[in-house]
């Protein structure tokens, strides 16, 4: 059914269609509307049977999901930013135990300073947690990805994180086609766990594994995640057959076939970039965009193919490795640099900072003209930064031993911007 609906609410509806049996809920902006929505559907009786549990922390939320999934129940929860980090230990645990939990991450910045706005620092912090990470471009995409996520998780016995930009998607009211229960039921069968706590056939789940087998366990987890690179396109194709809409997959390309310049990005910014691409195409520039839908496992082959022929790749990232480089950018660079493709990382949209089309056009123009640094920060307020760097340099508490360091920092900052 086509509806004009808030993203969070749409995701709640989609999750409910997937018939989760245990949902744990802990409020955190900007995720809260999702679990409110699921809770409402449980309370109203539309989603049943379902145990909706108001827990005391995100750590507990993931832990409840772990217990439920290990007992054979389809389990779901949602979180954002600091919440994801609060549950980090349990996030690793869920994947280590091979429990097919689905979690929405309404992406949010991670402080300090505390900030409830959107960026991808949360998901990036846990990119190596062993979960599949899918990034939604639109709310329609988010709905579709959630339905596919349950299927994918249970097929591989791996947990799946569906990342959607906090506020930008979660709080946007826009057009979403919500599949019917019949469609979802056809696509997603009842959960048949690969391992389960059963008094009739007792096993011990969660053994301690020492150095003699830990590498093997890790290797097998890696292999299972790589299997997802095969599964995801298959399940997306099946989804299209059942629901009648192409959605999901590993990467999604837009006007990139003949593009000399290709933008690579995660999540909702891709929509803005598409508009910018259209504008620049009208100006005669050969530019396209590739959205990375599946970030973990990293779709090296699919992305590599999508970027073939590009002279330059500009990675728009809503997170970066502080003191290092862009997370996605580094991976893209590793993928294409040996083809002679130049890569640029543009850090943008941190902590809810808007990504105006004009700024994107400007930075892409700089890239095309070869004026862009390898790593830059979109709309960085240079005045503020320079003033602060200068103050640091003159700070007598720092001066004696680090007199050079502030200058280095300043030079470095100047180079990367």
């Amino acid at each position: 059914m086509l509806r004009q609906i808030e993203g969070s609410r749409a995701v709640a509806e989609a999750v409910a269609l997937c018939r989760p049996r245990v949902v744990s809920a802990y409020p955190i902006s900007p995720q809260t509307h999702i679990i409110e929505g699921v809770g409402s559907l449980v309370k109203s009786g539309r989603l049943k049977p379902c145990e909706f549990i108001n827990v005391e922390s995100e750590f507990a939320a993931m832990s409840v999901s772990i217990g439920a999934a290990a007992t054979g129940a389809r389990a779901y929860t949602a979180t954002s930013g600091p919440g994801l980090l609060d549950m980090a230990e349990a996030v690793f645990n869920a994947s280590g135990l091979g429990l097919p939990i689905v979690m929405t991450v309404a992406n949010r910045a991670v402080g300090a300073p505390i900030n409830i706005g959107n960026d991808h620092s949360d998901a990036m912090a846990l990119r190596d947690s062993g979960w599949i990470q899918l990034f939604a471009e639109t709310n329609q995409h988010a709905v579709d990805l959630h339905i596919q996520a349950f299927r994918l998780a249970e097929r591989l016995s791996v947990p799946v994180m569906v990342c959607m930009d906090g506020f930008i998607l979660t709080h946007s009211v826009e057009r979403v086609e919500i599949p019917t229960q019949e469609q979802v039921d056809r696509y997603l069968r009842p959960f048949a766990p690969q391992q389960v706590l059963d008094p009739a056939a007792p096993v011990s789940i969660g053994a301690m594994v020492g150095p003699e087998a830990f590498t093997e366990v890790r290797y097998l987890a890696h292999a299972r995640l790589l299997e997802a690179l095969v599964c995801i396109p298959e399940l997306a194709a099946e989804f299209e057959r059942v629901v009648g809409r192409p959605s999901g997959g590993l990467v999604s390309a837009y006007r990139s076939e003949d593009a000399e310049t290709i933008v690579v990005a995660l999540g909702s910014v891709v929509g803005t970039v598409k508009d910018v691409v259209d504008q620049m195409r009208e100006e005669g520039l050969k530019i396209g965009v590739v959205a990375v839908t599946t970030f973990r496992p990293f779709p090296e082959q699919a992305l590599g193919q999508a970027l073939e022929g590009a002279h330059r790749v500009v990675v728009i990232e809503k997170a970066f490795a502080v003191g290092g480089r862009g997370v996605l950018g580094a991976q893209v660079d590793a993928l294409v640099s040996d083809r002679g493709t130049k890569t640029y990382t543009v850090v943008a949209g941190l902590g809810g900072r808007s990504i105006p089309e004009a700024s994107l056009r400007r930075v892409l123009g700089e890239a095309i003209r070869g004026e862009l640094g390898a790593m830059s920060f979109l709309d960085l307020d240079r005045v503020v930064v320079d003033r602060e760097l200068a103050r640091m340099a003159e700070d007598p508490r720092r001066a004696p031993s680090t007199a050079r360091v502030p200058r280095d920092v300043r030079e470095n900052a100047a180079r990367i911007v």
Binding site: P49, E51, S57, V64, T71, P199, V203
Partner: protein
């Protein structure tokens, strides 16, 4: 000659079993076919109180539930010594997730059972004192507050034994640990308020709270049995001496557990919905010194010169418990034997 039964029997109430006691009055542990939820081959230290406590509790729970039981275990000694790949000592459906999330995982298990209408299978969460009173307390308190259908069992050996005997919030005053060394002006653990988890559990007004000891098996099994008759959040706090951490002979595990109770330092009681129901009276009262002296973690109290002031303070703690719980039956009047 007609045989008559005598309710009195040598050791009927205190030893594990006795051929003279009616079978239904014998402990689960005395049963030749007991479940052995934790079986042989585990890697616990010689004389491990926690291994004993876990088998006592889970066997009793399995007996009470017709073996329809799922157990969630926190990280800690119990987990490490029972499930080192490739072998597990558990013969019950068992799961380990993390150190601090045991209660929440158990909540998830209980929810999964409830949602599929499985009312027969019951859930136990178990942890050491660290996984209960410290890192696990947030999740535990949440589980209590929601009244989730889980029995949480704390096997309290009064320190972080798995990591090499560091202080926990359950470590008693004056006890030496790796992080409360027996040196300086106040050797050993500080005399603080301690974190009285049973009392905190009572404050949650959950359906059932009890303390138990590996030295009082009948009492322990009865408490597990009562806990399993009830639904909702329940809490059992079991004292399990650790020969390693306490610096005691491996053979003295049960003796020390007994002395902890007989001195009044570890009162055995039951509570329901926020009210203390009863306490197990002390049979043969002992001074705290009898309990402290065999443990090297308290050796500095008996050095030359002895720290009589500290011993007196510990005695005062015991006396306070005895008064608070009427452990000598002075208020209730002595029960008939």
């Amino acid at each position: 000659m007609t045989e008559q039964t005598s309710s009195y029997c040598q050791v009927g109430s205190f030893a594990v079993g006795n051929r003279l006691v009616d079978p239904h009055l014998r402990t689960v542990q005395s049963d030749r076919l007991r479940p052995n939820a934790l079986t042989s081959g585990h890697r616990a230290c010689q004389g491990c109180g926690e291994a004993l406590g876990a088998r006592f509790v889970l066997d009793a729970a399995m007996a009470a539930t017709d073996r329809q039981l799922i157990v969630v275990n926190a990280t800690g000694c119990l987990e490490v010594f029972s499930t080192p790949y490739p072998e597990t000592a558990w013969q019950v459906a068992w799961m380990h997730s993390l150190f601090g999330n045991t209660a929440a995982v158990a909540t998830g298990v209980a929810a999964a059972l409830k949602v599929r209408g499985d009312t027969a299978t019951r859930v136990i969460a178990q942890a050491g004192d660290g996984g209960t009173v410290d890192i696990g307390f947030g999740c535990l308190s949440g589980m209590f507050e929601r009244n989730d259908d889980v029995l949480f069992v704390c096997y309290d050996n009064q320190a972080y034994m798995n990591t090499g005997v560091q202080r926990s919030a359950s470590t008693p005053a004056a006890a030496r640990t790796a992080t409360t060394e027996a040196r300086g002006r106040e050797p050993g653990n500080a005399f603080g308020q301690g974190k009285n988890l049973p009392a905190l559990a009572v404050a949650h007004e959950i359906p059932y709270v009890a303390t138990a000891s590996v030295a009082y098996l009948h009492d322990l099994e009865a408490k597990v049995g009562r806990a399993m008759e009830l639904h909702g959040a329940r809490y059992l706090h079991v004292l399990v001496p650790c020969p390693l951490g306490w610096g005691a002979a491996s053979r003295d595990t049960i003796r020390l557990a007994r002395l902890a109770c007989e001195t009044g330092l570890f009162p055995l009681f039951e509570a329901a919905h926020g009210e203390i129901l009863s306490a197990t009276p002390i049979r043969h009262r002992e001074p705290v010194e009898a309990y402290l002296r065999p443990q090297r973690r308290f050796a500095h109290l008996f050095a030359d010169p002895p720290r009589t002031d500290d011993i007196a303070r510990i005695q005062a703690i015991a006396d306070r418990n005895i008064g608070r719980f009427d452990l000598l039956g002075e208020r209730a009047g002595k029960g008939s034997r």
